[in-house]
Symmetry: D2
Subunit: 317 residues, 4 copies
């Protein structure tokens, strides 16, 4: 890997990892095609205790966004309040009162899925489509996140690389390699394979909780090495998610680069990528009982034409 030439490295990886055409010209699901009914049955068997865990950060103004790419934290306001209701100001009969609310937020502001229309390589979107006509100001006219609405439920594996390799947390700039992933899985006693939803904990979110957000949204972070592209392709996993802003290691592993692994895995592999997930409660439980696999439902809101979605993933063990 030539640090000075990300473009060549990306082209090489893209060629080795391409899934274009694998599920037909009309495909809108990418690696979610690996998540079969059989995989769901396998995942369901992992619900042993019935304990459930939310893997979502809270959506509010106390999030990490600082305006980069016009990404802001969610703004939640009330249309009606209990205060008004109690004061008899709402005009409803027989003592009923109500409260309603609204939200305005970037779909990429907190715990999220990146849809297939989120990243392009030289003007090409997933499956080789023309980015220009696929994702316009109208939204994603082909691969909108709404197509994934029913699919994201199955077997999940937590790879707590932070604990297994970092003694709790990985430092910013730490590049997680295939060797780290494999060693972590081995330590945990779990296998990763076709159709799995892979959760990679770095520990950075725990650090941000303790020390303040700092540059959590876009700054230095532990994350997947560019060199894991082939592992992500070869294992045929259905999706991957991390507890960091951007899934891959930051700064990126080239002299002048921006999210090169995204450029391979989304448009070429068709991989569903989750970011800013909160694994803390689940990871503590896994560390306690030694079981690093579970049932996971992480259903995006079917916002028509969206290139991503906020999500509250729920894991059940």
């Amino acid at each position: 890997m030539n640090r000075a030439d990300p473009e060549a490295a990306i082209a090489e990886a893209a060629k080795l990892c391409s899934n274009w055409g694998r599920w037909g010209a009309d495909d809108v699901l990418g690696t979610l095609n690996f998540l079969t009914e059989a995989k769901r049955r396998e995942g369901a068997a992992l619900i042993r205790r019935g304990a459930s865990f939310s893997l979502s950060q809270r959506f509010d103004l106390n999030g990490p966004q600082k305006g980069w790419r016009r990404r802001t934290n969610p703004v939640h306001t009330m249309l009606d309040t209990g205060t008004d209701a109690a004061a008899g100001l709402q005009g409803f009969p027989h003592g009923i009162g109500g409260a309603d609310d609204v939200i305005a937020m970037p779909l990429q502001c907190s715990t999220q899925w990146d849809g297939l229309g989120h990243i392009f390589d030289h003007g090409r979107a997933w499956n080789g489509r023309d980015a220009a006509t696929t994702v316009t100001a109208e939204g994603d006219r082909v691969t909108g996140i709404e197509h994934m609405a029913a699919h994201v439920a199955g077997r999940a594996v937590l790879l707590d690389v932070g604990r297994a390799v970092g003694g709790g947390e990985l430092p910013d700039g730490f590049a997680i390699t295939e060797a780290h992933l494999t060693a972590t899985a081995e330590t945990h006693g779990v296998a990763v394979g076709r159709g799995d939803l892979v959760l990679v904990r770095t520990g950075q979110l725990a650090r941000a909780r303790r020390d303040g957000w700092g540059d959590y949204a876009g700054g230095p972070a532990p994350g997947l090495s560019f060199t894991t592209a082939q592992w992500l392709h070869r294992t045929e996993i259905a999706a991957i998610a991390t507890d960091t802003w951007g899934f891959e290691v930051r700064p990126n592993e080239f002299d002048h680069a921006f999210q090169p692994l995204h450029q391979v895995v989304i448009p070429h592999i068709g991989l569903l990528v989750g970011e800013m997930w909160d694994f803390e409660a689940l990871a503590a439980d896994c560390a306690a009982d030694g079981v690093y696999e579970c049932w996971l439902t992480a259903a995006p809101l079917p916002i028509t034409g969206a290139v991503g979605s906020p999500v509250n993933p729920v894991a059940v063990k």
Copy 2:
């Protein structure tokens, strides 16, 4: 039930059905307390084929909202597009391009959960709290939907009253009684009990899809009769959802009233209520295989202080 006196009927039902104090003074979960780990194990056993179904409508401007109570349809806009990326306008290195998006929407605009802070009775919120200090312009300071983030996963039962009683669809204004619910469950061969997530299909959404929205958002609709309050309490279900705008029958069963059943079930029973769900695909499958129970995850977005949340419920059979 005196049609001329909803206030008395509500007071009577509230008295008979109150769960105030049942789970302590600090409770923020209401009937979700019935959804235990044991219940989740029971639900997990219902994942037999691994087939999954989204029970969510799509979130876009083609929804039914017309501005009542300032409820509008979701507005989704793009921050970056593939068209810009393909035209080389984004300023990123090595050929990477990206698309981002934002949404602005009422939390009650489409497929949703009503949180415990959504409805009040004479200035009282769930568990007897003062509505005035519980849900202010800041949001729900006590029972915000974020507290439910990890909980809504368990056994669901579909009661397709539309099919069982209405031959497909119930007409607008049809009040579903306990007898209808019981008969439907019997026809389906399912039992409803403590901790279940109950899905009641009326067929109105199918009609709206066919005939146009009309007054789907707030107008006449089939729905639960006010008289079901005690059944909803006695069965100790964890949550209920319908395919209509407002869960209960419209027009309401009193001369001058507005959503009287809400006034009992949310503040007094502490019941989680879902509205505008889409049961069409699931119901067709249940009609085909005769199995009306399944695993359901319906995870609200943990929007801090929200009195409701959009949701993409995913059922797995």
Copy 3:
């Protein structure tokens, strides 16, 4: 004018009316260049009584938008309320309380200016610029409405064509020609010339107020004939505004067309166009005193990169 060939008619008009290059390659003001300091002195002399008039509709959910092109009415919500303040819930010292609010709205939803980046002709924006690189998902990177912030104050002329030609209101579909404009000015005893802000009242808004919005936003309307393009160019006016949704007559005067006059006047003439203005109070006053000219300030909000702006124009006589 061949009704079957709008494209040729537009090309012909564009050629005859082009102001490209007239104010240099870097121009971002278009016909506002005609609005000189001398013109402002002339306008100031028209402030005789000191009576002021707002020419803005109110911004709220009761507007005419129905979702076309994702244009919605403004959504205004409160961040803090007097109800909360009076209930002592805000946590401020010494009895102070406050209310704040937010708005979400399309910039084209009500009384507005169309900026120079609002309309393109075959991929060309004002002054011959490439539309693709001028107005991206980032906004208008060259001719954003912020550049006009200080300029829109000067002499205005009201042409009440509705009264002068239509006996009060023009019917929908009525095409206002140069002859109508000239006759109206003559009837009013006013001259229209270089640097003027021209206000054309059709009376359609009065009708919508009386009869309901109907298809005010996008449907049939009186408005300027396509044939006025040369008059709009030759008179060297600084801006024009109407009380209709779209400035030009609807349906348009070709068999298959969409706002062909826009396609000439914005990219080629560089004309500032106002829509959905409310002339009712001003027009009644002008009819009463016979004075159809006044001072006008119609200052767009300097939203960086915006292709339009809501505006509250204030006329003073």
Copy 4:
């Protein structure tokens, strides 16, 4: 003035300065009642050269808001772009293309007017009204900013206290007293009186432009001393605006206080207050020609029920 007892000082000032009932029980204009037609004629005479100045900051994400009271900077997004138009993706006939946009913003985020419903004193709003029923979650049901739409045009006086007293800029925490105001007016050779729109430049915005926003939104700032309440009342000015976030000096002049001058001038005097205005260009011009009075139009957007409005004030000399 007892630094330890703001509440008593506020009560005393409120008593001395109250305008409650002065313009009748139904008044919705407050001190704008002082801005008469005669005053407008006087102001119009100040348009001598015809030079115009925008006194507005730009509205974009680069503003000073950091989330306090959920105040964020404006978020501007595109609904349609020139890039899409040039790529032929919009589906319009004869080569026309278009761009539309939307904005989401707090009304208090940048250059603004505080409406009469913005601040309360012990649950009382302007004119002695009950804050609880005046400004609910619906908005200001009585004194919404829409009522001021036609009124804010008249004579303005710039008091460049920054230049006259501070040699350019006043330091943060500098309390501007009546003596400073009077001395500045004298230096400038202008008189301040009934119906005037008074513009007070501190120079803090110039400093923020040079040094970065820092805590411009809410932190230490020069501004009016609490002791100016009686001057603000006695002079019978129509409105006042500053180039700071909060109009009065920060930290406030009591041990534990929050904007005590607001608590007097808005609910008791009924004074229209402007904040975050940009006087830099106008002040430079005034310093150059020695003329510190001008015509000013500062028209709020008539957002129904709003307690404030963004504004682009335009001064003409």
